[in-house]
Symmetry: C2
Subunit: 124 residues, 2 copies
Protein backbone atom coordinates (compact mmCIF):
# COMPACT_ATOMS: atom_id res chain seq x y z
CA UNK A 1 0.00 0.00 0.00
CA UNK A 2 1.44 3.33 -0.99
CA UNK A 3 1.63 6.13 1.53
CA UNK A 4 -1.01 8.85 1.08
CA UNK A 5 1.10 11.98 0.78
CA UNK A 6 -1.84 14.25 1.62
CA UNK A 7 -2.42 12.46 4.92
CA UNK A 8 1.29 12.50 5.78
CA UNK A 9 1.53 16.21 4.96
CA UNK A 10 -1.47 17.12 7.12
CA UNK A 11 -0.35 14.97 10.04
CA UNK A 12 3.17 16.33 9.82
CA UNK A 13 2.10 19.98 9.78
CA UNK A 14 -0.39 19.48 12.60
CA UNK A 15 2.29 17.86 14.74
CA UNK A 16 4.94 20.42 13.75
CA UNK A 17 2.86 23.47 14.66
CA UNK A 18 1.54 21.90 17.88
CA UNK A 19 5.13 21.22 18.91
CA UNK A 20 6.27 24.70 17.80
CA UNK A 21 3.49 26.42 19.72
CA UNK A 22 3.84 24.35 22.92
CA UNK A 23 7.63 23.82 23.18
CA UNK A 24 9.79 24.67 20.19
CA UNK A 25 12.97 23.48 21.92
CA UNK A 26 11.83 19.95 20.96
CA UNK A 27 11.69 20.51 17.19
CA UNK A 28 15.23 19.24 16.62
CA UNK A 29 14.06 15.64 16.11
CA UNK A 30 12.34 16.74 12.90
CA UNK A 31 15.56 18.03 11.28
CA UNK A 32 18.91 16.41 10.35
CA UNK A 33 22.47 17.72 9.80
CA UNK A 34 21.78 18.37 6.11
CA UNK A 35 18.45 20.17 6.76
CA UNK A 36 18.10 23.83 5.77
CA UNK A 37 15.92 26.60 7.18
CA UNK A 38 15.25 29.95 5.56
CA UNK A 39 13.42 32.07 8.15
CA UNK A 40 12.75 35.50 6.69
CA UNK A 41 16.27 36.65 5.66
CA UNK A 42 18.18 34.17 7.85
CA UNK A 43 19.57 30.93 6.41
CA UNK A 44 20.69 28.05 8.62
CA UNK A 45 21.82 24.47 8.14
CA UNK A 46 21.69 21.56 10.58
CA UNK A 47 19.23 20.55 13.28
CA UNK A 48 21.22 22.25 16.08
CA UNK A 49 21.51 25.64 14.31
CA UNK A 50 17.89 25.51 13.15
CA UNK A 51 16.49 24.86 16.62
CA UNK A 52 18.71 27.56 18.13
CA UNK A 53 17.27 30.03 15.62
CA UNK A 54 13.67 28.99 16.30
CA UNK A 55 14.14 29.09 20.08
CA UNK A 56 15.69 32.58 20.06
CA UNK A 57 12.76 34.13 18.13
CA UNK A 58 11.59 37.06 20.24
CA UNK A 59 8.20 35.86 21.41
CA UNK A 60 6.92 33.82 24.33
CA UNK A 61 3.45 32.78 23.19
CA UNK A 62 2.84 31.76 19.60
CA UNK A 63 -0.02 30.05 17.76
CA UNK A 64 -0.06 28.92 14.12
CA UNK A 65 -3.38 28.58 12.26
CA UNK A 66 -3.32 26.82 8.89
CA UNK A 67 -5.40 28.49 6.14
CA UNK A 68 -4.38 26.32 3.16
CA UNK A 69 -2.22 23.20 2.97
CA UNK A 70 -1.26 21.70 -0.40
CA UNK A 71 0.96 18.67 -0.88
CA UNK A 72 2.54 16.91 -3.87
CA UNK A 73 4.91 13.95 -4.19
CA UNK A 74 8.36 15.55 -4.45
CA UNK A 75 10.02 12.62 -6.26
CA UNK A 76 9.48 8.92 -7.01
CA UNK A 77 11.48 8.05 -3.86
CA UNK A 78 8.75 9.17 -1.48
CA UNK A 79 9.62 12.81 -0.81
CA UNK A 80 6.69 15.11 -0.08
CA UNK A 81 6.47 18.83 -0.79
CA UNK A 82 4.02 20.90 1.27
CA UNK A 83 3.08 24.56 0.99
CA UNK A 84 1.17 26.10 3.89
CA UNK A 85 -0.37 29.53 4.08
CA UNK A 86 -1.61 30.55 7.50
CA UNK A 87 -1.82 33.01 10.34
CA UNK A 88 0.54 33.56 13.23
CA UNK A 89 -0.65 34.96 16.55
CA UNK A 90 2.22 36.27 18.67
CA UNK A 91 2.13 37.02 22.40
CA UNK A 92 -0.75 39.36 23.25
CA UNK A 93 -1.15 40.86 19.76
CA UNK A 94 -4.72 41.04 18.52
CA UNK A 95 -3.93 40.95 14.79
CA UNK A 96 -2.67 37.77 13.21
CA UNK A 97 0.23 38.01 10.75
CA UNK A 98 -0.12 36.00 7.55
CA UNK A 99 2.72 33.67 6.57
CA UNK A 100 3.75 31.21 3.86
CA UNK A 101 5.87 28.14 4.52
CA UNK A 102 7.27 25.26 2.50
CA UNK A 103 8.39 21.91 3.90
CA UNK A 104 10.24 19.31 1.85
CA UNK A 105 9.84 16.04 3.76
CA UNK A 106 12.09 13.02 3.19
CA UNK A 107 11.19 9.51 4.36
CA UNK A 108 13.40 8.03 7.07
CA UNK A 109 12.33 4.58 8.24
CA UNK A 110 8.71 4.84 9.38
CA UNK A 111 8.89 8.60 9.67
CA UNK A 112 9.90 11.77 7.79
CA UNK A 113 12.38 14.55 8.43
CA UNK A 114 12.46 18.11 7.11
CA UNK A 115 15.09 18.60 4.42
CA UNK A 116 13.95 22.07 3.27
CA UNK A 117 12.03 24.63 5.33
CA UNK A 118 11.31 28.12 3.96
CA UNK A 119 9.26 30.58 6.04
CA UNK A 120 8.13 34.11 5.12
CA UNK A 121 5.71 36.53 6.70
CA UNK A 122 3.43 38.11 4.08
CA UNK A 123 3.67 41.84 4.45
CA UNK A 124 0.79 43.79 2.98
CA UNK B 1 32.16 25.15 -10.82
CA UNK B 2 28.92 24.45 -9.01
CA UNK B 3 25.71 26.10 -10.14
CA UNK B 4 24.55 28.99 -7.96
CA UNK B 5 21.04 27.92 -7.00
CA UNK B 6 20.04 31.47 -6.02
CA UNK B 7 20.93 32.79 -9.46
CA UNK B 8 19.14 29.93 -11.22
CA UNK B 9 16.04 30.43 -9.07
CA UNK B 10 15.88 34.18 -9.76
CA UNK B 11 16.50 33.79 -13.50
CA UNK B 12 13.93 31.01 -13.72
CA UNK B 13 11.20 32.96 -11.92
CA UNK B 14 11.89 36.14 -13.89
CA UNK B 15 11.62 34.20 -17.15
CA UNK B 16 8.57 32.22 -15.99
CA UNK B 17 6.52 35.26 -14.98
CA UNK B 18 7.53 37.27 -18.06
CA UNK B 19 6.39 34.36 -20.21
CA UNK B 20 3.20 33.91 -18.16
CA UNK B 21 2.32 37.59 -18.38
CA UNK B 22 3.11 38.00 -22.10
CA UNK B 23 1.94 34.66 -23.58
CA UNK B 24 1.12 31.82 -21.22
CA UNK B 25 0.38 29.39 -24.08
CA UNK B 26 4.19 29.00 -24.34
CA UNK B 27 4.77 27.76 -20.78
CA UNK B 28 4.59 24.07 -21.77
CA UNK B 29 8.33 23.87 -22.45
CA UNK B 30 8.95 24.40 -18.73
CA UNK B 31 6.95 21.30 -17.67
CA UNK B 32 7.24 17.56 -18.43
CA UNK B 33 4.79 14.63 -18.41
CA UNK B 34 5.52 13.93 -14.73
CA UNK B 35 5.14 17.58 -13.66
CA UNK B 36 2.38 18.53 -11.22
CA UNK B 37 0.48 21.77 -10.74
CA UNK B 38 -1.72 22.67 -7.79
CA UNK B 39 -3.52 25.90 -8.70
CA UNK B 40 -5.83 26.87 -5.86
CA UNK B 41 -8.00 23.72 -5.46
CA UNK B 42 -7.22 22.23 -8.90
CA UNK B 43 -4.59 19.52 -9.32
CA UNK B 44 -3.14 18.63 -12.71
CA UNK B 45 -0.36 16.43 -14.05
CA UNK B 46 1.57 16.70 -17.32
CA UNK B 47 2.72 19.66 -19.42
CA UNK B 48 -0.33 19.54 -21.69
CA UNK B 49 -2.92 19.53 -18.89
CA UNK B 50 -1.02 22.17 -16.93
CA UNK B 51 -0.80 24.61 -19.83
CA UNK B 52 -4.49 24.06 -20.68
CA UNK B 53 -5.36 25.00 -17.10
CA UNK B 54 -3.16 28.11 -17.12
CA UNK B 55 -4.48 29.25 -20.51
CA UNK B 56 -8.14 28.89 -19.51
CA UNK B 57 -7.76 31.09 -16.40
CA UNK B 58 -10.40 33.81 -16.74
CA UNK B 59 -8.28 36.88 -17.32
CA UNK B 60 -6.77 38.59 -20.34
CA UNK B 61 -4.13 40.84 -18.82
CA UNK B 62 -2.02 39.64 -15.92
CA UNK B 63 1.14 40.89 -14.22
CA UNK B 64 3.14 39.14 -11.49
CA UNK B 65 5.31 41.16 -9.11
CA UNK B 66 7.73 39.24 -6.89
CA UNK B 67 7.89 40.44 -3.25
CA UNK B 68 10.16 37.72 -1.81
CA UNK B 69 12.04 34.88 -3.48
CA UNK B 70 13.88 32.27 -1.41
CA UNK B 71 15.73 29.27 -2.82
CA UNK B 72 17.43 26.20 -1.34
CA UNK B 73 19.12 23.17 -2.91
CA UNK B 74 16.40 20.51 -2.99
CA UNK B 75 18.75 17.51 -3.03
CA UNK B 76 22.41 16.64 -3.73
CA UNK B 77 21.47 15.92 -7.37
CA UNK B 78 20.96 19.58 -8.25
CA UNK B 79 17.26 20.11 -7.61
CA UNK B 80 16.26 23.60 -6.52
CA UNK B 81 13.31 24.56 -4.34
CA UNK B 82 11.95 28.12 -4.64
CA UNK B 83 9.23 29.85 -2.65
CA UNK B 84 7.88 33.11 -4.05
CA UNK B 85 5.48 35.52 -2.41
CA UNK B 86 4.17 38.26 -4.62
CA UNK B 87 1.35 40.30 -6.05
CA UNK B 88 -0.89 39.58 -9.00
CA UNK B 89 -2.53 42.35 -11.01
CA UNK B 90 -5.43 41.08 -13.13
CA UNK B 91 -7.06 42.89 -16.06
CA UNK B 92 -8.12 46.41 -15.05
CA UNK B 93 -8.31 45.76 -11.31
CA UNK B 94 -6.65 48.42 -9.17
CA UNK B 95 -5.90 46.22 -6.17
CA UNK B 96 -3.23 43.55 -6.41
CA UNK B 97 -3.95 40.11 -4.97
CA UNK B 98 -1.20 38.54 -2.89
CA UNK B 99 -0.08 35.02 -3.74
CA UNK B 100 2.38 32.33 -2.65
CA UNK B 101 3.99 29.87 -5.05
CA UNK B 102 6.47 27.02 -4.84
CA UNK B 103 8.55 25.67 -7.71
CA UNK B 104 10.60 22.48 -7.48
CA UNK B 105 13.10 22.68 -10.37
CA UNK B 106 14.95 19.65 -11.70
CA UNK B 107 18.05 19.90 -13.89
CA UNK B 108 17.71 18.63 -17.46
CA UNK B 109 20.82 19.08 -19.56
CA UNK B 110 21.77 22.77 -19.47
CA UNK B 111 18.33 23.78 -18.26
CA UNK B 112 15.68 23.05 -15.61
CA UNK B 113 12.08 21.94 -15.73
CA UNK B 114 9.31 22.34 -13.17
CA UNK B 115 8.52 19.11 -11.34
CA UNK B 116 6.29 20.62 -8.62
CA UNK B 117 4.29 23.85 -8.86
CA UNK B 118 1.93 24.92 -6.06
CA UNK B 119 0.06 28.24 -6.31
CA UNK B 120 -2.30 29.86 -3.78
CA UNK B 121 -3.84 33.28 -3.51
CA UNK B 122 -3.55 34.66 0.03
CA UNK B 123 -6.99 35.67 1.15
CA UNK B 124 -7.10 38.12 4.02
Amino acid sequence: MSVDFNTVAKEFCTFYYQQFDSDRTQLGNLYRDQSMLTFETSQLQGAKNIVEKLVELPFQKVAHRISTLDAQPGSPSGDILVMVTGELLIDEEQNAQRYSQVFHLIPDGNSYYVFNDIFRLNYS
